[in-house]
């Protein structure tokens, strides 16, 4: 609860800080605000479940864990953003302000107890993201990405609203608990069809936000076109919030009609895995590959939703955390490397930009290698346990076939994740020594350390949630 209020206020403060002469104050101020929000978040730990705003917002340990991941990711991303000083066109105050506002939206999605809250959360997050995607004003690709994202996103929101309307029509309520009560006592008939249709449309809207196939078409273009720092933001925070919302939706309101929706989610999960992994293999741009890999990770997370068994909750939290840490590392290294190696003034985001990275920059190569191993799900990294918990959740439900497909797809994943490891360690290239700001270095090292720590001791989170 507190971080939502805090960040709403502090976001406005950030905008006002933009009027000050010194632009250097913005970055530390934003980091400070995020730390305050993180502390505020965990004040309510183990106090829950608490309901706020006329029972529209719910705070329990699950909400707080997801919020914690979101705020931690945001802190790391802001820390490596470098203050946007290198571009004369940039408006740092607005960027930071929008980022803080979008976090408010993300946290509302995590804790919603009422459909309106979900809608507002999604919109706050999305509108901020549309703007940030297009923030590189003079860049054609950035403009295209923003427009594409906006048009498709608005369309998906339409579906979502329509779904909510139908749900309201069927159940007479926007509240999750009321909908759950209705769904468990409902008889087959015209009313149930409206409920089913409403659920499906709502799911379509949400699946678009987490870039699940077949609603993924915007993802590669938008991820590639957006400035890398905002791509990182999108691929970690939007995805975590989206899955938290989906989990809450399916786990509270619709558990009783599991038999209706599980196969739909299962098929979407399989399709997402196929599209994401096979799409990623044919990419030459590292950034675009990461976009497809983001799709494939949505597929793994959907498996946990499909199963919706006892370990699912833990699996989604752990996976989101592992995925966010590695993604931040991967994009963080990409930003440094692509800035040094430009083609016609544009940053070079291809695999060959990484050739020979390990020789001159062993630290960056190591950070990149660990993050790739984690994304690929190799043991001793957090990513392995993320996948493992996902698979156990499916096994507990007895859906083994989906695990087999996921396993095959993780083998495909190794292929494209290793391409960049091979480029940086085994290929020769004229790489210069890249200068890294000490703070930037610390953030990358912390993320890498956490990835390995969770890989060695995944039990740290046991019995927490």
């Amino acid at each position: 609860m507190y971080p939502i209020i805090l960040l709403s206020v502090l976001g406005v403060v950030t905008l006002f800080l933009g009027f000050s002469k010194s632009k250097n104050i913005l970055l530390p101020a934003t980091l400070l605000f995020l730390i305050i929000a993180l502390i505020g978040n965990f004040v309510e730990w183990n106090k829950g479940p608490l309901l706020y705003f006329y029972d529209m917002f719910r705070v329990d340990n699950l909400t707080l864990s997801f919020n914690g991941i979101i705020l931690l990711s945001a802190f790391m991303i802001v820390a490596i953003s470098g203050g946007f000083q290198d571009n004369a066109d940039s408006e740092p105050a607005e960027y930071y302000g929008l980022m803080l506002f979008s976090l408010v939206g993300a946290m509302m999605m995590v804790g919603f107890e009422h459909m309106i809250m979900l809608f507002i959360g999604v919109e706050i997050l999305s509108v901020a993201m549309y703007v940030l995607t297009g923030s590189n004003k003079r860049n054609l690709r950035s403009n295209e990405a923003a427009l594409k994202y906006f048009l498709m996103g608005a369309f998906a929101t339409g579906f979502m609203l329509f779904g909510m309307t139908l749900l309201y029509g069927a159940t007479g309520s926007f509240e999750l608990s009321q909908i759950q009560g209705f769904a468990s006592n409902m008889q087959q008939g015209s009313q149930s069809y409206i409920l089913y249709a409403g659920l499906l449309l709502l799911l379509i809207g949400m699946l678009f936000k987490v870039s699940a196939a077949p609603f993924h078409f915007w993802t590669p273009d938008v991820y590639e076109g957006a400035p890398t720092i905002f791509t990182t933001f999108m691929s970690t925070i939007v995805k975590t919030a989206g899955f938290a919302a989906l989990f809450r939706l399916l786990n509270t309101s619709f558990t009783n009609i599991y038999s209706f929706w599980w196969i739909i989610i299962a098929l979407i999960a399989v399709l997402t895995l196929l599209v994401g992994n096979i799409g990623a293999t044919s990419q030459n741009s590292f950034k675009r590959m990461l976009a497809y890999s983001g799709i494939s990770h949505a597929g793994y997370l959907l498996i946990a939703l499909t199963a919706l068994s006892r370990p699912s909750e833990n699996a989604i939290v752990f996976y989101s955390l592992a995925y966010s840490l590695s993604t931040i590392c991967a994009f963080g290294v990409l930003m440094l490397v692509s800035k040094e190696k430009t083609i016609e003034g544009q940053p070079n985001e291809h695999y060959d930009a990484f050739n020979g990275l390990a020789k001159q920059n062993p630290l960056l190569a190591f950070v990149l290698a660990v993050s790739m191993l984690s994304l690929a799900g190799i043991p001793l990294t957090a990513g392995f346990w993320g996948k493992f918990f996902i698979f156990t959740s499916a096994a507990e439900r007895g859906i083994m076939w989906i695990t087999v497909i996921a396993v095959l797809m993780s083998t495909v994943g190794i292929y494209y994740y290793f391409r960049v490891i091979i480029a940086s360690y085994l290929r020769e290239g004229n790489m210069i020594k890249i200068r890294i700001a000490p703070f930037y270095q610390v953030i990358l090292l912390i993320a890498t350390f956490l990835t390995i720590l969770f890989g060695l001791a995944p039990g740290i989170f046991d019995n927490l949630i």
Partner: protein
């Protein structure tokens, strides 16, 4: 607790090696390897074969899931731990004569590999086993990919994806088994032994395990990664792969496949046996054709491991004991042979038999060591290969007379390719490539001498090791037969 020390000691040594600088790295790594060997021998002296799993420890790891960080030693584990700790310092020592770039990372990776291998052989929790099984891949991948030959990138990549593909199936099987355990689930291997599974399920699990282990060993037809990887890797990595890592597969068959799915064994064992026997013959025939010495040994290793697998699939005391003793023998011989090839290659810059010849004229020591290791490999009585091969063939013969007879051809074919290797390289007219060939240096002898001693030790008195494994093996077979 001793087991935990055995796993941790190489890790600590590896970290020290990594930070010890370029000059000291190899000495530190050697000391680390020898210390671990000392600890393993100490464990051996305290070991009581009849007492089952010993020196164990168990820490809650993912406590909500019943997954624990648990390991311990029984006879089977101990023998393989001894092999690993004995070979690792020799592998380190064998690399001394090369000037590898970034030596600190090179030797540290070897020690990391040792830790992962000891972990595989001692884990008593199925998921811990899996974790080490996969983790062992990473150091050896980088060893082969960074310090390897010309085609290393492509070849090692294929190797990596191939083997990880196999083990992922094992993971699905393990996750499934884990959810079959009663109550709050547990992933202890012994709990898996108690499960009552339907024959059909056992069939699926049999194949999931079989593919994982068959790729690792490798068995026919999953061997296509092996010759290229062995050839392209630096010798130290080839030694790790063939000397120790291959044993992970055989160990997996013994520890998981036999006792967990005995009915699956009954219905599909014949098929697996046939594949193994095909591998024996196929590997031998290709080895006869090879001109590249490293490839020749690679294929011979492929043939030998086929026989070990066939022994395991016969699920008899002789078969399992034979497989275990043959694992030791093969590890020792193959490392010796790869080292000798490395010596020849580093002096002549060629590995091709048709360019070599007449080396023995100037190298009495090398010739003797080479001959002894080679005879061990073709299973001459009183050498280490004989004991294992005899037990294995007798078990296969008991299982099925025809298959036994075909597998028996390995003795003849083995002598053909091995003696051809010796004759073409060491005898005959002296080729221009081998001019000025020096005999062994002191450090080279220091690697070969312990190996040769072991060849005779196991050949003359195999009981030292057979009696270690005997109780564990009969206990295992009791499980299978129930």
């Amino acid at each position: 607790m001793l087991t935990l020390l055995l796993i941790l000691l190489p890790v600590i040594a590896a970290v020290i090696t990594l930070f010890s600088g370029e000059r000291l790295a190899k000495t530190v790594a050697l000391i680390g390897g020898l210390t671990t060997l000392g600890l393993a021998v100490m464990t051996w002296l305290q070991f009581d074969p009849a007492a089952g799993t010993q020196f164990g420890f168990k820490y809650a790891w993912v406590s909500s899931g019943g997954i624990s960080f648990a390991a311990g030693l029984d006879g089977i584990s101990l023998v393989l731990v001894l092999l690993t700790t004995f070979l690792t310092p020799l592998i380190v020592l064998s690399a001394f004569k090369h000037d590898y770039k970034k030596p600190a990372s090179f030797y540290a990776l070897i020690l990391f590999m040792e830790a992962a291998l000891i972990g595989v052989f001692t884990a008593t929790d199925a998921f811990l086993f899996y974790l080490f099984f996969e983790a062992a891949l990473i150091p050896v991948y980088f060893l082969a990919a960074i310090w390897g030959g010309e085609n290393r990138i492509k070849v090692t990549f294929k190797f990596f994806i191939y083997t990880i593909f196999g083990s992922l199936f094992m993971m699905v099987a393990l996750v499934y088994l884990y959810y079959q355990t009663p109550g709050t689930h547990t992933s202890e291997i012994t709990a898996f032994y108690q499960l009552q599974l339907s024959p059909q399920t056992q069939g699926f699990i049999f194949w999931a395990f079989f593919i994982a282990f068959a790729i690792k060993m490798p068995l026919f037809p999953f061997h296509t990664w092996q010759p290229d990887t062995y050839t392209e890797s630096p010798t130290a990595a080839t030694m790790l792969l063939s000397g120790i890592m291959l044993k992970m597969g055989v160990y997996g068959l013994i520890r998981f496949l036999l006792p967990i799915v005995p009915q699956g064994m009954e219905s599909w064992g014949m098929m697996a046996m046939i594949l193994s026997v095909i591998g024996i013959i196929y590997g031998s025939i290709i080895a006869i054709q090879q001109s590249d010495m490293k490839r020749l040994i690679a294929y011979s290793s492929f043939a030998h491991v086929g026989l070990m697998a066939a022994g395991v699939f016969s699920y008899s005391v002789n078969g399992l004991q034979g497989a275990l003793i043959q694992m030791l023998a093969h590890g020792i011989n193959v490392i010796g042979l790869f080292f000798i090839i490395d010596i020849i290659y580093s002096r002549t810059k060629t590995r091709f038999l048709d360019q070599l010849g007449g080396i023995s004229q100037s190298t009495p020591h090398l010739s003797i060591y080479f001959m002894i290791l080679l005879l061990g490999s073709v299973a001459l009585p009183l050498t280490n290969g004989f004991v294992g091969e005899f037990l294995l063939l007798s078990s296969v013969f008991h299982y099925d007379g025809w298959l036994g007879a075909i597998a028996g051809l390995t003795i003849i074919l083995g002598s053909v390719y091995m003696l051809r290797l010796f004759q073409k390289s060491m005898f005959g007219p002296r080729s221009k490539w081998v001019e000025g060939f020096q005999d062994l240096t002191a450090s080279e002898s220091a690697v070969l001498l312990p190996l040769v001693i072991m060849v005779f030790w196991i050949g003359i008195y195999p009981n030292t090791f057979l009696k270690l494994t005997e109780p564990a093996v009969s206990q295992l077979l009791q499980l299978v037969n129930n």
